[in-house]
């Protein structure tokens, strides 16, 4: 149970770190109030976790076929918690799923546990690919949303109403998609222990994990939301909608069994559900919008600072986990 508490602490930290990915742009564009946005975030992150989290959770067991014992989970979780707290201190949103996978790899190498590098390579490939997809997809969605709103020729105030309603709707869908991804990241590593070392219902586990994410978002996410939302590039309400739509498409694509099965069947590939970095998708989408506007209102220095964290944070986690594993092997 101690290990589970550690995971729930991570859940709170993750909530602080990741709420920005869902409602950050809507709050930064002043279309939604923080309190209202967080309420929707909590409800839908829990729903998403209960409905979908078991699929991306499977990745943890697949990457290390001979899974570690439960008493070693703190070696995996502590470096992730430290790295995430460090990134929160820097007011940047880091990728929890990446940190966890790199922590597991660090642990596996130090303890000479077999790693399925095939899955790891696919994960890294998708992690590198998703920011690029997000960068271009957000531009297409931005043009699409803008065209639809222009065709409707709404009065400015009705347009404002429609955008607000869509931001809430898209935000809830994104929270639903993120719920499965994030909860899989936090408590997913415990899934293989259910009914053996942990006597807890899997849905309850996901509920607790997602509930902690909600609490973290409620109490600690405000500063990061304002940093990502305002210091990278100016976001207008339509851009905020496009960013959310991009997230929904990418996160749902990689966490929904239904969609993945359909794509595998249709294209004859072997894609699997995996936790995607919502932080990377969000930043890449913001930069996509900024590029579309000719980088006129973009803080390049701040953007590069956040992008560099995508490289050094997993490395820090890997090294930390590796040495921690050597110490406690």
């Amino acid at each position: 149970m101690t290990y589970l508490i550690l995971a729930l602490v991570l859940g709170i930290i993750v909530g602080a770190n990741d709420a920005v990915n869902v409602f950050g742009s809507a709050i930064a564009s002043k279309m939604l109030k923080f309190s209202r946005a967080i309420l929707f975030f909590i409800i839908f992150i829990i729903l998403g976790a209960i409905v979908n989290a078991q699929y991306p959770s499977a990745i943890y067991q697949n990457i290390i076929p001979s899974y570690f014992s439960i008493d070693k989970t703190f070696i995996i979780l502590v470096p992730v918690i430290v790295a995430t707290l460090f990134s929160i201190k820097l007011k940047i949103s880091s990728s929890i799923s990446q940190s966890l996978i790199f922590s597991i790899i660090g642990f596996a190498i130090a303890t000479e546990v077999n790693v399925n590098y095939n899955i790891f390579e696919q994960l890294v490939f998708v992690w590198i690919l998703t920011p690029f997809i997000s960068f271009f997809l957000v531009i297409i969605l931005h043009l699409l949303i803008n065209s639809c709103l222009n065709i409707l020729k709404l009065n400015m105030f009705y347009k404002d109403f429609v955008i607000r309603a869509l931001l809430i709707l898209f935000g809830c869908l994104a929270a639903f998609a993120l719920g499965s991804n994030l909860t899989a990241s936090i408590v997913g590593i415990f899934s293989p222990f259910i009914n053996s070392s942990i006597h807890i219902n899997e849905n309850l586990l996901f509920f607790l994990g997602s509930g902690c994410i909600g609490l973290g978002a409620l109490f600690f996410s405000k500063k990061i939301i304002h940093n990502i939302g305002t210091k990278v590039s100016k976001i207008n309400p339509v851009s905020a909608l496009a960013i959310l739509a991009t997230q929904i498409v990418i996160l749902l694509f990689f966490s929904s069994k239904l969609i993945i099965d359909y794509v595998n069947l249709k294209f004859g590939i072997n894609l699997f559900a995996m936790p995607i970095s919502a932080s990377h998708v969000t930043l890449a989408s913001i930069l996509g919008i900024a590029a579309f506007k000719g980088f006129r209102e973009t803080n390049i220095k701040n953007s590069l600072f956040i992008i560099s964290s995508w490289i050094y944070l997993p490395v820090i986690v890997f090294i930390f986990s590796y040495y921690l594993s050597l110490t406690f092997r």
Binding site: S29, K30, M31, P237
Partner: protein
Amino acid sequence: MSFYKNDQKELINSINLFLDNILEVNSLFENLMKEFFLKNYKKVEDLTLKISDLESACDKLRRTTERKIYQETLIPEQRGDVLGMLENLDKIPGQLQGNAHRINTEKPDIHKELHDDFNNLVQNNSTCVKLLISGSKQFFIDPKKTIEDCLLVSKHESTGDKISTKLKNAIFNNNNLDLSQKMHLRYFVEIVDEVANLAEDVADRLIISSVKN
């Protein structure tokens, strides 16, 4: 959600009422000038009072609308432009009200040979205001139409400048008027023409806001 929708409706109604009131003030001022040339001073006084009432209503509506937009954090992207537009538009009924009061109080002695040019100036300014209000209404729906209307405002303002210059020349070349009369009439030409200048200022800002949006 229905709460939001009522807010939008209420705001749209307030802004439309505000713009319609400006149009009404403009039309009342046109009538006032007609009555003034016909020397119906009682009617001029009544119209001045009506203009004053409508101007106060405009002020009230503008304040309520501005407060609502900020309180409900509506249209965050455009609210600066909308507030700027409302504040600048509100100067027009203010100017018309001032002009009406001055005409009612000072009763300038406008000679018959100047009536046509004065009328032309008033008509031209009135067209400026009408075009500006049409552009302002379109600003919330079709910014392209706003730009078209606002460009016409500038065109009419230039025409107004030409009429006022012609009027001033006519006034100062009239040997039947003494200098104090000439100065008094020039003052009235300038304050009547000021309406078109104000309309042009608002139109310029509206063009920029429309391009931005």
